[in-house]
Amino acid sequence: MLDNAHSLRAFLPELIVAGTVLAVLFVDLLARRPHVGRAAALTAVGLVAAGAATVMTMRADGYGLFFGLIARDPLADFFKLLFLATNLLVVLISLRAREATDESAAEFFALTLTTTAGMMLMASATDLLTAFLSLETVSIMSYVLAGFRRRSRESAEAALKYVIYGGVASGVMLYGMSLLYGLAGSTSFTAVRLACAHTPAAATVLLAVVLCLAGFGYKIASVPFHMWCPDVYQGAPTPVTAFLSVGPKAAGFALLVRFFGGSLPAELVGAPAPWPILLGLIAAATMTVGNLAALAQTNLKRLLAYSSIAHAGYVLLALCAGGSDGTRAILLYLVTYLFMNLGAFLVIIAVADAGIGEEIAEWRGLGRRAPWAAVAMAIFLFSLTGLPPLAGFFGKFYVFAALLARGGSLMVTLAVIGILNSAVSLYFYARVLKAMYFEAPTVDEPLPLARLHAATLALLAVPTVALFLVWSPLQRFVDSSLGQWYPAEMRPRSAQLDRSVKRSSVQLANTSATK
């Protein structure tokens, strides 16, 4: 637990990002004509520098900063790298996206950078206060980003809905946090964990947790806090939607992992904690609503919005399974989700750049007009469905593996619901493919695809297809990231110890499952 002065050295990555924000804004003020390329380059440099800083100062064991407000541990580092990568890709995506960068590119990049800083904080929060602050930073930045297109009504409407919904949700979360603070007398996660374990008022704990969940649920757009998602995703500029669907969602999950892993005890006084059931309910609802609503969509961005809700459901499954298996599944799933989701949105941007709208009907015959874009879209969509050998399959495989490893009838029923949902999801992804490949185009002349878009598409499509070649180093890195957070389970893998731990956690899960 370092004091403020010493913490600064470990806080370097966040500082670099903040510095870049200022630099981008400052350079934009000085320059006579706004030059997108220069702002983007500066942002990219800042991001890479932050990444390098994170890697340099990486340590196997985790330690608290600023008197325990945030923690610098492998889990946080993993998420930081994920966010920096996401931001870098969004910068690449929005270079040619006229709707985002034609008027004020610098502000756009500055806003994304600030959001990334907020997300990095979210991932390392070990205190209710930092959780709230970082969540709010990310939310406020995304409100502005959502409304970035000045001249479009939808963007303004999206921003309004987002700001109101976000405000209410974070207000409710805050109220929940205040109750937790009341119970624990301190805002740090570990204190809350101890207090909840011993307080007899199990009902208030449940109420407080559900209220907090309103805030986290809104961030990852899980049912019942998802109502804002389709409208905002449709209204906001596509690069922003892409960023929202990956960045803040992953940050939300980071916070949830910390909150459910770190701050909530597995055992309440007397009865076992109802968290698996709570999360199970939310997960099942999110998947089912996300998939079913997507079946009837005709607008592509709205369809991908519901698809991202459904994917939040799958990750929630892993959270529900908990333990090292569950968290490993979450981390791996988010990596694969990053590539395929950004890829899908990029195709929309690239095609919009060439004049095609967002309605599925307008995409008819794309297979012939823009073969490479269509092939890329096919790869991303099949990966989102979870078909091997694409990356999405591996993500889902680990989620279901985590569930079945935990065992217990609740987990297995959730696995069955999840597996059937991923089968149903094929239908609406295939509708896009049907339009692209099986239906004849209205006007049959080839579609120009910007070389930058093509390059970025390749950059995203290759990992989606070939991730399994590189899978064991990735998984080894993820396992090492879990080391600090779940010390008991992740000691170096000797068979005997693992089995004993496994047995104990299974008992634990079984008792809690068979409530």
Partner: protein, 693 residues
Amino acid sequence: MGWLRYIVLLPLVGAAINGIVGAPLERRFGRRVITVVAVGVMLAAAALAIAAAVTLAARPEHDRQIVDRLFTMISLGRVHVDFALALDPLSTIMILVITVVGALIHAYSAGYMADDPSYWRYFAYLNLFVFSMLLLVLGDSFLTLFIGWEGVGLCSYLLIGFWYREPANARAGMKAFIVNRVGDFGFLAGVALLFWGLAGSWSVIDHRYYADYPRLVPTLDLRLVHDQLAVAPFAQAFAAKTFLGAPLPLVVALLLFLGAAGKSAQLPLYVWLPDAMAGPTPVSALIHAATMVTAGVYLMVRLHFLFALSPAAMTVIATVGVATALFGAIVALFQYDLKRVLAYSTISQLGFMFLGAATGAWWPAMFHLVTHACFKACLFLGAGSVIHGTHTQDMREMGGLAPLMPRTRWSYLVGCWAIAGFPWAAGFYSKDEILARAYERSPLLWLAGAVAAMLTSFYMFRSYYLTFEGRAASEEQRHAVHESPRSMTWVLLALAAASIVVGPLVGLPELWSGREPLLARWLAPVTAGALTATPERRGLELALMFASLVVATVGWIAARLLYKDLRAREGALATLRSRLGGVPALVLDGFRVDALYDATFVRAFGATARTAAWFDVHVVDGVIAALGALARAAAFITAAIDHYLVDGAVNGVADLLLGAGRALRRVQTGRINNYVLGVAMGVVMLIVLTSWL
């Protein structure tokens, strides 16, 4: 003994040559090449068959066995099947009949089909048929036998529907194949049941006692099954087993008989044979008279030891046999189509053979099979040459052909003579032996048989008189018709001669020759075990022989009186009957004798014949047609169920999901207040559900 296979392979080679390169050959070198190949192959096969018979005869009685193993088809521990050919006295007779009669019929068809466009295709099918029939007869295991068995079914389908442009012919072919398939279902079920029974019984008796027995394993090999069932305790064990309550041998025997009935057109699976007349006449001669239809009888004689195990089955088969004989004869009475008369006659004669086999008279059944092959082939070919000349099959349009086609007439007459059972002709001896055996079994059987015999001679001579005697139906027919070419008629004469000579040569009864008939001695080793005790009652035999002679003559005289010069009276009778219905008609009708006949004998005959014919067309055929229609209806219903019910259910689930999707869409009203309300409701719902679960 590797040369046995060539008897079988020669027709296959012939079929292959004609089948594959037949058309170009015919175009370049003309039809002679096709005939040379087809008939040549048959002659070679006949020569080899005779050679085989001779070598077999030269061997001592107990060792009359030539086995030729080509290759192993299946070897899965117990299920070991070799593609092997085995020659023993029984199959020698069959291959002689097939190859010799077959060769003659091939020669005949060369003339008969001379002007047919797809000449090569006909001979390819014919050769293929002979190959399959030989395989059936020589096959050593149930499987090889079954390959031949279905092969002949296929060839009869192809040949019946030879002139497939005419849909009726094609439908007749299909009907034949499907009815055969019903029989084959019986055959397969019988074999499977036998195989299971054998396996079961082996595990029952203790092997120590029979340790030295060669191959103590259930087998599909015919001769091995025979050797195993010869072991008394094993046979009892086998007989003791039951299947769904019924004793196993009975069920196996009846199932195998169902197969035989399908192939040999016994009740109730006979319906395809009359329609099979749609094919060319030589085909009917070869397939539906001489060889294929006798396969059922061959099967029964081959497995006599199995049928002998269940007396109940034997009685059932006997009754079915005699019933078919009677039924065939009755229906044949009133047919006007020459070939259908012969078809029903075949069904009836086959009834006789099954009667013989079922009463334990194995060698008489084979004897009748051989004689029947000769005279029925002769009759069919005679009919063929008549049709070839008059271009019609309806007897009413014939008459007085005797002077115009002398050679056909005499051969046809000899054929009728033989089938009716007059002395010195083949039919008399074989039929008489069967009736004698039947009498021993039960007089009732003999009586039915005798009546059938009488009807046989009646309808045969009726067909003779209608076609050959009396005045010619029309003037221009008198001039147009001329005798068939010599290439066809010498075959007729040969067959006529055979149907006279074969009888006494092979089966002269002991009564006259003092020695056991040649065929009995020849078949003794094969059927040694079966019950063929023939009590020495010389008096009874003579009486029975005289009775069958009387029966034959009565039938002949009746036919002669009625149909000798029918033309003269036919017209008068018809007009009278049509104009007057009441009593004065009797007075006017001066021909008291005819009227008497007409009133009693003929009308009674006519009525039964007509009802039988009607019954046959509407009821039995109707039932089969109904079955077909029922099957198609069932198929249509199942297809509908499949489309609407099963597929519908699945699509129902899909629509349900899509509906839920649309419903969820409407929840997104777009108004912020609803969304925020969602947050509050969500929190409440979560708390309630979590604490409730």
